[in-house]
Amino acid sequence: MFRMTVLFRVMTLALTALTAAVSVSAATLAEREAEYYPLTTLPIPEGVVLEAGSIAVLPSQRLAVSTRLGDIYFVDGAFAPKPEHPKFTRFAAGLHEVLGVFQGRDGWFYATQRGEITRIKDTNGDDRADVFETFADGWGIGGDYHEYAFGSKPDRDGNIWVVLCLTGSFTSENEFRGWGLRVTPEGRVIPSTSGVRSPGGIATNHLGDMFYTDNQGPWNGTCWLKPLVPGGFVGNPSGFKWYSHATNLGAAPREPASNSRIATERAKMKEFVPPAIGFPYNKMGQSASGIANDFTGGKFGPFTNQLFVGDQTWSTVMRVFLEKVNGVYQGACFPFREGLASGTLSLEFASEGVLFAGGTDRGWGARGGQPFALQRLGWSGRTPFEIHEMRARSDGFELTFTQPVDATAAADLKSYTFENYTYIYQSNYGSPEVDRAKPPIEAVTVALDGLSVRLRVQLTPGHIHELKLPGVRSRTGDSLLHPVGYYWLNEIPSATP
C-alpha cells in the first residue's frame, strides 16, 4: 500500500512539473546550455560506422576512437573550430566490440575487447596496426550479448581495470562475469571487486581512484556511479561463485538480503562499498554510461576535477561532484548538457578544454535519434549560474555557486524544496522510490560573498537527497541553469570543531 502511494505521489509531482514546463517558452534548455557549452558535431565519412565505445586523445590533436563493430579509427582535425572534413584512418579492424582504448607510455595501444585486452602496434609506420598481442584474457565469455567488457585507462598505479557485465541481466555463467578485474602493467589479472551488474563506463577521478557506472536492474534500484576498491563488493551478488577462483580474496561474503536497503545491508557486510552517486531514474536519466574527469584546470569552465557522466537513453551529459566523508565517497549529481545527437556512450576530455562524446543507439534507444555520433563540447568562456559543489555537513548541506547569489532570495526558505528517498535493494529488477520523507529546511545561511549557502536539514544515510532551488537567483537576477541537485549520502560528517 505504502509503495503504491509513493508511486502515485511521484506521478502527481511529475504531472505538475509537466504542466509547469509547458508554460515555459522561448529558448529551450538545450539552447540555453549551448550559450555556455556549445556542441559541435564532427562529420563522419560515408561508410564509417562510428558507434564509439571509447575515445583516447593522442598527441598532435589526434583522437583514437574504438567502435562496437571492432574498428579503431584515428581522427585528425577533430579540434578544428568548424570541422568540416575530419580525417578518419582505420588503424585496426575486426576486433570484438572495443569498449576501452588508450595509448600507453610504451607506445602500444591497449584495446579492451570482449574477450581480452590486446596490445596493438603499427611497426612499419603506415598507420595500420600489424601486431596484436593478447595482453590479458583471464575471464570467461560464453556468447551472450550482455557479456560486455569495459576497459579503463590506467589508474594511478598503472593498472587497467576491466568491468565485466553479467551473463544476461541476472546470472554469472562464466568466470568473473559481474566483477571488476585489475590488470597490472605486466599483464597479470587480479580479481578485485565483486558485485558488478551492467557497467556503462569506467574512469578515474582526479585522484586516480577508479569509478564505473552501473545500470538499473537486479540489485540496482537506479543507475549508480560506484567506486572500484580492491576487495570490495559493490552490490550484485550474482558473481559470488567466482570467489573460488579469486584466491587473493578469500571466501565469498555472505549474500546480502533481498528486499532490503543499501544502508541496512552495508552495515552487515564489511566488504560492501556503497555507491558514490545515485542518478535518480527518470529524473537524471535512464542509462548511465561513460565517465570523464575535467582535468583541464579551468579551460572547460569552473568545474575542474569534477566528473562528467553520460546518459545513453537521454543523450545527455551529467555532472558529478564527489567528496569523501569518513573515508567513503559520496556526492551530488546535476544535469549538465542535453541534446546530444545519439545515445551518449563514451566521454573523454582533451587538455585543450573540450569534452568529446561518442554515441550509439543500437540495441538501446536514445533521445538523440542518430544511430551514432562523435561530438565535441566546448566552453564558450561564459560561466553559467550553477550549483558548483554540494557538500554534506553534520547538520545539512553547504552549496557553493559559480556566481554570487542574491542574498534575499537565497535566504528565503521558500526558494527551496527538499525531500529524500531511496530504492529497494533487491534481486528483482529496479525499484520504485521508497521511504520518502520531506524534512523541513530549518535554516538557511548565506555567505557574505554570496558564493555559498548553508542549509540546515535532516540527513538520512542511504538516501538520495533531492534539493530543488527554484527561487534562488544570482545577483544579476538569473535563475540557476539547472536548479536541482541529487545528493546520495552514505555517511554524515561529524561537526567540524
Binding site: 570484438h96 550479448y145 544476461g168 542535453e338 540495441g363 534507444g365
Partner: protein, 899 residues
Amino acid sequence: MLGASAVTWADGFVHVAPRPAGFTEGELLLGELNCVVCHTAPPAIRQRLNSRGAPVLGAGGLQVTPQWLRRWLANPAGAKAGSGMPDVLHGVPEAQRGEVADSLTQFLISLAPTTAPAAVRADPSRVESGRVLFHSIGCVSCHAPQDREAGVTPEIFERARSVAVPLVDLATKYPAGELVRFLLDPVKHRPGGRMPSLSLTETEATSLATYLLREQLADIERRSPAAVAGLQFEYFAGRFDGCADFEKRQPTSSGIAATVDPKVTSRPGDFGLRFQGILMVPADGEYAFSLNSDDGSQLYLDGQRLIDIDGEHPPTERSAPAKLKAGPHGFSLLFYQNGGGYELNLRWSGPGFSRQEIPASAFRHFARPMLPVGEVAETKDPVKAAQGRDWFTKLNCASCHEGTGVTPTTGRPLLELSARVQAGCLADSVPAGAPRFDLTTAQRQALREAVSGAARLAEPLSAAGQVAQTMTRLNCYACHARDGVGGPLESGRADWFRVVGEADLGDEGRLPPHLTAVGAKLKPAWLQQLLSEGTKVRPYMATRMPRFGATHATALQAALLQADQRADAAAEPVATAREGKLGWKLVGRDGLSCIACHTFTTFGSTGIPALGLDAMARRLQWDWFRRYLPDPAALRPGTRMPTFWPEGHAVNTAILGGRTDAQIQAIWAWLQDGPKAEVPTGLTRGRHELVVDAETVIYRNFIEGAGSRAIGVGYPEHANLAFDANELRLALLWQGSFIDISRHSTDRGVGYEPPLGDHRIVLPAGPAFAALTDAQAAWPAAPDRLSGVNRFLGYTLDAQQRPTFRYRIGGVTVEETPRPRAGEVDLTLVRHFRFTGTADRPLYLRVAKGAIVAGAPGEFNVEQKLKVKFDGPGTAKIVGSELRVPVPVPGEFNLEMTW
C-alpha cells in the same frame, strides 16, 4: 469459517480488501453468496450486486467424481473451509445424511453425458511444465503457490499461501480430462467469472492439469507399476524459437520410439521432438548424464530440468550428475532443429558402467491414462437418482445451479427481510430448511446490516464504485493497481510476476500495468476485447491477461469509460497523408528511432521488445497518447520509455520544425494504419556481408563452431578459416563468401554467426595439441583456460593483412601461418608451423577426426572431403579415428589441407 476478514472470501476475491466508497462488505457478500436467487430483488439491485452464480450442473457441467460429490454434499465446509456452497443437509438427521448425499450424487451422475471424460495420458514429464505455468502465468494471483522457488523468501511464500482461493482434493475430485476441459474454458462452466480463462492451449491445459493432479501420478504408479517398453514421442513440424515453444504447439504426429533418436521420423525441414516416458534406473547410486545437441535441447528427470542446452547452436555437449534411486523416474527430452545439420545424443554413466548411450531396455512409458485418486467403479442407480431429484427440488439447489431441468422456487423477497435479519440463514443457529453458510460473526453481521439496508441498493453505484466493486469481485486488484489500491506490490505476490526469457524491461516487463484512469487511455472496443477475450500485446510478460467473457467485459468497460472520462479530452485530429509520411519518418531510423525499442508486426525492435507499434492505434485514445509522449513517466511511473520532447521541446528539430504537437500528431497519423502502415526505416534487416576483396579480412566475434573468442579470416582466394582462441585450434574451413555479420551489427549483437559460403569443414572440437607419454593414449581434455598453461598470444599481420597466429602450449610457443593456395577446383590451406621452447613430454597435433584413409606417405583422406599432406620430420599416424602428427620442438613443418 469464511476467513479472517469479512471480505476475505475463500471462493472469490482474496488478498486485498479495498473498500472504495459506495459499497460495503456486506454488499459484496450478498453478491458472492448469491442471496438474491432465493430472496428475489428488483432488477436495479440485482444489477448492482452482480452476483457470483454457481457452477453449471447437468450435461453442460463438468463430471467430477461421485466419491467427491458425496463428501462435498454431506459437508461442504468440511471439504473446503470458507466455501460459498452452503450446507443444505444440516437439517437432515445425521444418520440419514449420507443416504441423502448419495441419492443427490446419483441424481447428478444420471444427468452426466454418457461419454466418459477424455483420457489424459499419465505423463510425469509434464509436471515440470505445469508447475512453471502455474507459478508464472497468473494462477498464483488468486491461488496459493505450491512450491517455494529459488528467490522467494519463506515469509513471502507463507504470506501468499495464507490468503488464497484453496485448491482442495483436486486429485480425488477430477478426472484429468475434465480438469483440462475446465481450464480451457472456465467461464463456460462457472459463469460468475471468478475463475477466468488464461487462454491456455490444449497442451498447456494438459500440463497444468497434470501438475495440479500430480497425486494421481503417484497413485497410478502404485496401481499399475508395469509400463510398456519404449518412449512416447511427439513430432512437431516447423521452426522453434526455443524449448518454451513446445508448450505452445500441437504435435504433428506421435508414436513410440525404442530410444532417444532424432531420426525417429525423418522428414525434411525444421522440426521439434519431445520424448517422454520413464527411465528405469537399475541401481541406487550416482549417475551422470551428458546431452549433446544441435540445435536446442533440454533433459528433464522427475519433472526437474537436469540439462539445458536451449537455443540455436552447433553441436554442444553438457553434462550433469544425478543421484538416483533404483526404479522408475519420469523422463522427458525436448529437442529442436532449425536449419543446417542436426545432432542429438544422450549418454549416461552410473554404478558399474561407463559412459554409453542409454539402452532401449531402460525406457518405458505409461500406457494407461490418469485416474482420480481413490476412485471406484460406480453403478448408476435410477431409483436413488429419482430420490435425489426429489431432494434436489426440495432443497432448492436449482436456485443457484442451472442445467438440471429442475425448476427453482423463491423465498421471501430481499426487501421484506429487514425485520428478519436474525432469522433464517442469518440466524446465529440456522434452522433446518435454511441453507447454512460457513460465516464468521463479522461476516454475518456485515450481511445483516446489508440486508437491513437493502433498499439502498436500488440506487445504482457511481461508475467509480462499479469499477472498484467489479475489480474486487473479479480480483483484478491482485494484478493491477488503480488509484493507489491493489497491484502485485501491495499483495505481496510480486515474486510470481515474471518476464518471458530475458526482456530487459525491469518491473515494467513483468508487472501488469496500473489501471488508474485506464478508461481515458484505452479505446472502448479494445477494452471490451481485452476483458472479454484477453490480449497478448506484451509478449515479454509471463502473466497473462485473463478472459472474463463478454458479460463482465461489457459492464466493466462501460464503467471504466464513464469513471475516467476527462472533461478536457482533446478531440482526435483527422490524420492527413502528409502527416502519416512524416510520422513514418519520425518513428524510424532517420527520426526518433522508436523502433529501437518497439516492435512492428513481425519485425523485432532493434533492442528491447517493447509493445508493438502496429497495435497502438487500435488500443489507445488520442488524448492519452498526446499527454503520454511528452512525459511518459508522469503517466507510468518507472517506465523505461523516455520522452523525445523533454519539457515539451522536441529533440528532433529537423522534422516539422521541431514543433512538439505537430510531431506527436504525425506519429499518431502514421500509427492509424496499424499493421498495414509502411515499415519504418531501420527495421528491414538485411544481410551485412563482410566482403573480401584484395586484402585479407579478420573478424573476431562469436562464430558458430569456433567459440566465443573466434577469429574469422577471409582470404582473397575465397578460402576462409575460423580459429578458436579458447581452445587454440583451427576450428572451421570454408570456401566462397566469408561471413554475414548482421546478427552482430544490428540489435544488441545477439548470438553466434555461422560461416557464409560453402564446402564447410568442421575440425575436431577440443584441444588441437596435447602432450602424450603414450602415442596411443586417449586425447585428453584441455587444461583449465584460466590456469594459463596454454595461452593465446595474438597474431601479426603481413602486408596483405594475413595473420600468423601465436599461442603457447605449456613450454612450447607455436607460430601458425596459414596461407591459402587456389587450385583448379579445390582450395588448399598450407599451414606452416614453427615451434620453439621446450616440451617435457612428446607433443602431438590432432589434425582431423573421422573415417581417415592413408594414401602416399604423409598423405591422408578424411571422410572423402579433406586431403591432408604432412611434410614434418616425424610420421603422421591414424590412432583410432584420429589423425595425429608428432610435433618437433624446436622445429617446423607444413600441413596442407585441401578441400
